[in-house]
């Protein structure tokens, strides 16, 4: 039985009158690849945002690696070992691809400049990213995703959130990315992936959590969850 790396307990997040997350209690076990699915607006990205520290919850608790991080500021959580990628492209425009990755090394990991440069080169080779001196405007979509991934990895996270990392990729690119993610997982990083592309969830994840309207409506292996009537309703809408 793997130990719990991340636990949220009754996590509630409200934006004004809108409750984005309602009493969300879930668990992410060390070494697993957890999938988070759900219709649009279910609160998946909010969940990542709250765990990584962009928002603070209105209620509930977040426990990471045995410590309560609910009140910890975002940059400290990142150093504690939580990494993430973003749904919309969020690279720093005025830095080149390798410089973006270096940001992760320098601040997420606290390396010196020289070590950061070395590590950046390693990561570029691992992710097969040629000519990393290019800037955002000169990169393909897949390359941009790789840079974001590299930056997150540069922080040597224990837990990595992937927010729809497959969005916008072709079939071949998706396959390449799946292999990459599996490789990362095999190196000991626990992964939590939000996805809409079901093929990816089926291939990659061992366990899936389904969110709808800010609440968890199902948990379990993909096949199980797939056939859950509640989940089908959520995606397709209830039959009148």
């Amino acid at each position: 039985m793997k130990s719990s790396l991340l636990e949220t307990k009754s996590l509630t997040v409200r934006f004004g009158g809108l409750t984005a997350l309602k009493e969300v209690t879930l668990e992410c076990r060390e070494g697993e690849i957890l999938g988070i699915i759900g219709p649009n607006g279910a609160g998946k990205t909010t969940l990542i945002n709250v765990v990584s520290g962009i928002y603070f919850p209105n209620g509930g608790q977040i426990v990471f690696d045995g410590k309560d991080i609910t009140k910890l500021p975002a940059h400290m959580r990142c150093r504690a070992g939580i990494g993430r990628t973003f749904q919309t492209i969020q690279l720093v425009k005025e830095l080149s691809a390798s410089e973006n990755i270096m940001v992760g090394c320098l601040f997420g990991r606290g390396l010196g400049l020289r070590e950061a440069r070395r590590k950046t080169q390693e990561l570029c080779e691992l992710l097969q990213l040629p000519r990393p001196e290019r800037y955002l405007a000169q990169l393909t979509m897949l390359e941009i995703k790789k840079v974001e991934l590299a930056r997150a990895l540069a922080m040597t996270p224990k837990l990595l959130f992937l927010d729809e990392v497959m969005a916008g990729l072709s079939i071949n690119e998706t396959r390449a990315m799946i292999d990459l993610v599996r490789e990362i997982g095999s190196r000991g990083v626990t992964i939590c992936a939000i996805e809409h592309v079901m093929m990816v969830i089926k291939d990659l994840t061992e366990r899936v959590v389904v969110l709808d309207g800010g609440q968890i409506i199902a948990t379990g292996p993909y096949e199980h969850v797939c056939n859950d009537p509640g989940v089908i309703d959520a995606y397709l809408g209830k039959e009148e």
């Binding site: 940059h75 601040f107 606290g110 400049l113």
Partner: protein
């Protein structure tokens, strides 16, 4: 190519240092004045790299100048040391202020810095210990008014600032500030303590401004609310930095020196309203060279180089 660049820089540095040996007193003072504003332009740019626009330079210049004068008059500290102390005082004030104000962004932050600068001015103008609206008089100017010393003092401060600016550009500070400037959420998610960097940059830039203000006060031999907190300190360096090209070290320096020279030339031709052409220059630059003349020049040089390699028929 790199050697050529270094050689050029060394030549310019040598020329700058030897400048007073070939020119008269009037030019020494003029050049020192240009150096004052150029240093301010560079310090403003350093804060700009974090994404924050400040209109409060006049406030820190004023604080620095008053701090230096008060320390000189009341504690008998030497003028040079008073300049350093003034810088520390300004930096300290900025740090304290920063805790209150650096949660603000954009226009809000800019407006608040302006308001704070004006508040400092009014406070100083109303307290008798700072001499009220009449200000304070120093027994004499620094170095006994020796214009060589004055020039080298200001050159030294500018070189120090250039050094700090380059430090910013070549260290992890550049990565941090650029990330913060572009996207704070991402910066936070990659482990950057935004507040720490903002306070640090703000304090450092303000310390430089304090030193400049102090040096200016020592050179003039007096402080007065109107002149020590003059809005010229807050506004003209902005134009210089934007003219030369922001977010770099050479931009504000070149912009400062060039605009300073243009201004001085015009001042002699058109005593009343010489800033007019200054304003026209600004408008023209914004419309046709928005990235500043340094980058525009670089683009032109690139074009010329490409032409040489591949001449179009």
């Amino acid at each position: 190519m790199k050697h050529l660049k270094s050689a050029l820089l060394i030549a310019i540095l040598a020329a700058a240092i030897c400048f007073p040996l070939y020119t008269g007193t009037y030019l020494h003072h003029t050049a020192a004045n240009i150096l004052i504003y150029t240093t301010l332009a560079l310090s403003w740019d350093m804060l700009l790299r974090s994404g924050q626009i400040s209109f409060g330079m006049s406030g820190f210049c004023g604080i620095g100048s008053y701090a230096a004068v008060m320390v000189c008059l009341n504690l008998g500290i030497s003028p040079l040391l008073s300049i350093v102390l003034a810088g520390l005082v300004a930096g300290l004030v900025a740090t304290l202020l920063g805790f209150a104000v650096l949660h603000l962004r954009g226009m809000y932050f800019a407006v608040v810095t302006l308001a704070v600068a004006e508040i400092f001015r009014v406070i100083v103008a109303n307290l008798s210990v700072t001499g009220g609206t009449m200000g304070k008089l120093l027994p004499g100017a620094i170095f006994g008014g020796n214009s060589y010393g004055i020039y080298w003092l200001m050159l030294g401060i500018l070189l120090l600032t250039i050094g700090l600016s380059e430090l910013f550009e070549r260290s992890r500070i550049r990565f941090a500030l650029t990330s913060i400037r572009n996207n704070e959420i991402v910066a936070r998610s990659t482990g950057i303590d935004i507040f720490k960097y903002l306070v640090f940059t703000f304090a450092l830039a303000s310390a430089i401004q304090g030193m400049v203000g102090a040096a200016s006060a020592q050179i003039n031999g007096f402080v007065m609310p109107e002149s020590s907190f003059s809005l010229n300190f807050a506004l003209l360096p902005l134009a210089m930095a934007l003219f030369g090209g922001v977010l770099s070290t050479p931009g504000p320096v070149i912009g400062g020196v060039l605009l300073g020279i243009i201004d001085q030339v015009l001042r002699e031709q058109i005593p009343y309203g010489h800033l007019l052409v200054y304003g026209i220059v600004l408008v023209v630059v914004v419309l046709f060279m928005p990235n500043g003349i340094v980058r525009a020049a670089r683009v032109q040089i690139q074009r010329i180089r490409i032409q040489r390699i591949r001449p179009t028929s």
